[in-house]
Amino acid sequence: MSGPNTDYDPVEVAAVSPAEVEAARDAALAAIAAAADLEQLKAVRTQHAGDRSPLALANREIGALPPQARKEAGQRVGQARGAVSQALAKRQAELEAEHEARILVEESVDVTLPTDRDPVGARHPLTTGAELIADIFVAMGWEVAEGPVIEAEWLNFDALNLGPDHPARTMQDTFWTEPADNHIVLRTHTSPVQARTMLTRTPPIYVVCPGRVFRTDEYDATHSPMFHQVEGLAIDEGISMAHLKGTLDHFATSMFGEGITTRFRPSFFPFTEPSAEVDLICFVCRGSGLDDDRSGACRTCRGEGWIEWGGCGIVNPRVLQACGVDSSRYSGFAFGMGIDRTLMFRHGLEDLRALFEGDVRFTTAFGSEL
């Protein structure tokens, strides 16, 4: 069928007649438009644009026409085939797009399914809390000093003006290691780190000492034989209580927000003179002492408007003397507070023991904020 049909009578060839060509084209276009999917379109393509389609056959007949008729017939058939081919391409594109869209629809999932496949870790709030505090001081140009938890009695007590008969030595009930005359204790505060710092460095000294400390307290909701403290020490020329107040106000504001500052009350600590208790403006009621709807007492500060935060003062010259700091040239301030207690009121924790039980539900609740 590839060659011209020479004995064909062109007059008899109706296939290239305008009416036939038009009819074939219209039939093709209608079938294309009616094809509902790619499968159907494929069949339509074979039927109306394939080698045996009417228009293909008509095209083949053109060669058999007399030369004067060929041009016109050629144009007519060519236009018809072009229209069909265009319509096919267009419909093909449409159906392909529909097909792809349908696949995406079919692949949709329930996005509310759980995704908790991997284990969740967390750092302990006491660790991150101590880091938060350390960062506030590091940002002020302070350094973080550390020391051993099992400590020499001399560093834990004597060097800090807590002589053998000092009442505070029994106030802080101490774990002694065996034998007791070894003069080695579980440190009762992080102050020996301050002593170590003064003994080994020359002023100016600006250090903050977070760490674990021990006292022989029975374990209950508010007491623990092990807890955490952060203490600070500044030794420099011209240090005064004003610098202590400035530092603690800055600390309080950094940790609890704008407007939260401190107040001092006279107190007594062997290592400082003058000594003060530090209270913090309650960061929940902002000092009003009232709860949210202003009908009852604030639960965080129990209506006081202030929260007891820690102790502080000007470093007693006797401590400077024992630690080799020239007290005629330098003065210093020191402060200390409980990290555990600070977290308890910061987060409204009721029971201290939650910090040491290791229940992952407790620790993961803090995320990595703290």
């Binding site: 496949r117 870790g121 009695e153 080695i184 992952v360």
Partner: protein
């Protein structure tokens, strides 16, 4: 210290408009911290009246109880003047006694409304009250029986009982012993409001003639001042006057008898502890000395005490009759028949008092004051005041004679620059203010021209001995609230140390690996190690013992973090957690056996050599990391099954950490408790052991309530941190196409994968980018005692695409070395 406000006001002219809150605010600002204000019985609503019991009929009840049917004269208070019928369950009264009656319509503390009601077959119209029923202290063993002269029936009992009186409780710091008295609190109030103070200690005293009683003080250091007075003809049956009883009870002490109450009352008033002896039971002269070895004393609390040669004692001819300044002895105790009273008021060395109190575990009101330091000028005054009250209320006769041995120790003269308070406080405090305020606290001040002053602190302030002590006094009066807020500006720190940064990093890596940090107590005992299955001679059992552990079960500081971790894991599992992964970083301690830590003086810095000795005596305290993984490691869900923690998870955590820190750790099989002997790895850095990881021994899992196959690791964190790479070099890698070659090698089952891998690396040469084991096969096809290891090798050159031949040659070379080193046969 509890103080009734009315008592405070007796000695200080506080303006009436100063409220109790204003007073306590000011005193708190001065350093006497308010603990609380109570007004006992303030909520009682009348009528509460004095009644006289007319009749008392005991009536036994079926339940075995005996009640008393009483008629009580309440005067006109009931509106009729007729006796009031009241049922009373108490028995400590007789007809004729004055009692306290609440009539129908009254409301007692706790909203307890009184009405006439039928009970035990009578209409009881009111109630005869006990002290606790009115919110007062005192025993509830019976009802209140008033002294015969307390009042008349029908009188209002509210004021009579001191009900509704405000009592303030202060927390007194150890340096403010003077405030353990009304005298001291009133003095502070006067200071706070700048109003006149009337010193109750300011009274004329008789001349000292030594004739009250013979007193021999052998130890004037321990007892610098000893005063004695004598009264006779005391009537021991007299009750304590109501006002005194209330005040003693309001101050938190028990009312005992008139004579004892008077000594306590004067102690509260002045701060001077006083002891009264039954003079008829004292044999001969009083003496003061240190106890002899082996001496014993029965004290007032019915305890026989072995005395130490450091204890100060009071003696008579019979030997010790009192533990000086702390507690009297039983043999000379005042009794219900005592008529002659020997009064002792002495000043004691505070350190001796402290030691004696501590040694005998004796906390007494007297000891509390004596060990903090009492005004040494008080003994004579206090003794005289006691005599006055015994005469006034006990019908006693003051015997002539006043014995006063010794004299008050000298107070030091302290020289300070007048600008020191300003300099140390940061407040603008003038020299004039400094002088004024020091005088206000009772110090004597001598001014010099060069801006310095000599200050002699008052006798009642033994805490003031040095310049900074004076600064605190000035600043607290000027006001701590005046201290400005100024940031120091000279801090020039260099940020966190390497170790501090590493510790944070370690925490982040481990939490990123899905582990939750815990903090456990470091206390352990033999039983702890038994649960870990440690052999008897395991070095971890060599602990640092605690002389005073909280629990005898856990008397030592731990040598391993695993017990705390395993307990926490068991707790989580016990509370229903399907799986748990925990880590802890903390101190463990090992004995150094370097002898005792020296105690140095505090007047100069110890030398460097001395400090070194101090540090050397301390135990070795490395930082450890512990990890435990139990149960579900990744969760099962709609995506498919999860995984259960096992030995490899513990190793994975350790390796992940080491990788992050840039440390190469090596792993080899080991057998060590508490791990499974076939599933334990020793971890090394350059052949130095840093710890172990693997599956826990089944017995250990059981002991801690953990699921089977739970895994753990513990490593020396100090060693790991020491090896950490501080500045990781920038990596170099090729962007050329990768050439992948997989090989399967059959080796003996006992050959460790790391050995095969090392051989492959060695043989593959520089073109090898990575080698990774992706499958292990054991089975019939390769024969018993063998395993097949499938490795994926990736080759890549920096500068060109490798040809198939190059990659193949490198692979063959790798396999050849593996064959040579570990007998690997390619499948």
């Amino acid at each position: 210290m509890k103080a009734p406000v009315s008592w405070i006001r007796e000695y200080v002219d506080l303006p009436a408009e100063v409220s109790t809150e204003a007073l306590t605010d000011r005193l708190t600002a001065l350093g006497l911290k308010l603990e609380g204000i109570v007004a006992a019985g303030a909520e009682i609503q009348g009528p509460l009246v004095v009644g006289r019991v007319l009749t008392k009929e005991p009536e036994p009840q079926k339940n075995g109880k005996v009640i008393n049917w009483c008629t009580v004269d309440v005067g006109a208070a009931n509106g009729t003047g007729e006796p009031q019928g009241i049922v009373c369950g108490a028995h400590n009264f007789e007809p004729g006694d004055l009692v306290v009656v609440v009539l129908p319509g009254g409301v007692l503390p706790g909203g307890f409304e009184i009405s006439a009601r039928k009970t035990y077959g009578h209409v009881s119209a009111g109630m005869i009250c006990s002290a606790p029923e009115l919110g007062l202290t005192g025993d509830g063993a019976g009802i209140i029986v008033l002294p015969p002269d307390a009042g008349r029936p029908g009188d209002d009992a509210f004021d009579l009982l001191g009900l509704g009186e405000e009592v303030v409780e202060f927390e007194i710091n150890p340096d403010r012993a003077y405030a353990l008295s009304l005298r001291g609190i009133a003095r502070e109030a006067a200071l706070g409001f700048d109003v006149p103070f009337r010193d109750p200690a300011d009274r004329p005293l008789p001349d000292v003639d030594g004739k009250a009683w013979e007193v021999n003080v052998d130890d004037p250091v321990g007892c610098p001042v000893f005063a004695a007075r004598l009264v006779s003809g005391f009537d021991p049956t007299r009750p304590t006057p109501e006002f005194m009883k209330h005040r003693v009870e309001q101050a938190g002490m028990r009312s005992i008898s008139l004579a004892v109450d008077i000594t306590n009352y004067v102690m509260l008033e002045l701060g001077q502890p006083i002891h009264g002896y039954d003079a008829d039971r004292v044999a001969g002269a009083l003496g003061v000395r240190r106890a002899h070895d082996g001496e014993r004393l029965a004290t007032l609390d019915d305890t026989v005490r072995e005395l130490s040669t450091e204890d100060l004692v009071i003696t008579d001819d019979s030997g010790p009759i009192g533990l000086a300044g702390v507690m009297g002895g039983a043999t000379t105790e005042m009794s219900a028949t005592t008529t002659r009273i020997l009064i002792e008021a002495a000043h004691w060395d505070a350190v001796s008092m402290f030691r004696t109190g501590k040694r005998h575990r004796l906390i007494s009101e007297a000891g509390k004051r004596n060990e903090r330091g009492v005004d040494p000028l008080l003994p004579g005054v206090a003794a005289d005041r006691v005599v006055e009250l015994l005469v006034q209320h006990g019908g006693a006769i003051a015997e002539p004679g006043f014995t006063l041995v010794g004299s008050a120790p000298e107070r030091p003269t302290i020289t300070i620059a007048t600008e020191l308070p300003a300099r140390l406080s940061g407040i603008a405090i003038s020299a004039m203010t400094t002088v004024e305020q020091l005088r206000a606290i009772g110090a004597s001040v001598t001014e010099h021209e060069q801006g310095s002053i000599d200050v002699v602190p008052p006798t009642w302030r033994p805490d003031i001995n040095a310049p900074y002590d004076l600064v605190e006094e000035v600043v607290r009066i000027v006001g701590y609230d005046q201290v400005p807020s100024v940031l120091p500006r000279r801090a020039t720190g260099r940020g966190l140390t390497r170790t501090q940064r590493l510790r944070r990093r370690i925490g982040r890596v481990l939490s990123g690996a899905g582990c939750v940090e815990v903090i456990s107590f470091p206390f352990v005992g033999e039983a702890t190690f038994d649960r870990l299955g440690l052999p008897a001679d395991d070095p971890l059992r060599k602990t640092i013992g605690l002389a005073n552990p909280l629990s005898t079960e856990e008397p030592a500081y731990t040598t391993t973090l695993l017990p705390g971790l395993l307990e926490a894991a068991g707790r989580n599992v016990g509370r229903g957690a399907p799986g748990v992964a925990l880590f802890e970083t903390g101190t463990v301690a090992f004995p150094s056996d370097n002898g005792p830590a020296p105690i140095y003086g505090v007047h100069t810095r110890p030398s460097d050599a001395e400090l070194e000795k101090l540090v050397e005596a301390l135990p070795v305290q490395p930082q450890h990391l512990g990890v435990v993984l139990a149960g579900e490691r990744t969760r099962a869900g709609w995506w498919g099954p999860g995984t259960t923690a096992g030995w490899s998870d513990a190793l994975a955590v350790v390796r992940r950490l080491a990788d992050d820190l840039g440390v190469t750790v090596d792993v080899a099989a080991a057998a060590r408790m508490p791990w499974h002997p076939g599933r334990c790895a020793v971890i090394t850095i350059e052949d130095v052991e840093i710890g172990h990881a693997g599956e826990l021994h089944p017995n250990v899992c059981k002991a801690f309530g953990l699921p089977a196959r739970s895994a753990a690791a513990e490593i020396d964190l100090d060693a790991l941190m020491a090896a950490a790479v501080d500045v990781p070099p920038g990596p170099v890698f090729s962007t050329m196409p990768v050439a992948k070659e997989d090989v399967a090698l059959v080796v003996d089952a006992g050959v460790p994968v790391t050995a095969v891998e090392a051989a492959l690396r060695e043989g593959a040469g520089d073109l090898l980018e990575s080698v990774r084991l992706f499958d292990v096969y054991t089975g019939e096809q390769i024969g018993s005692g063998k395993k097949s290891l499938a490795f994926a090798l990736r080759f890549r050159a920096l500068d060109r695409t490798l040809t198939e031949a190059e990659a193949g040659a490198a692979r063959d070379a790798a396999v050849a070395v593996a064959a040579e080193r570990v007998g690997a046969v390619q499948r």
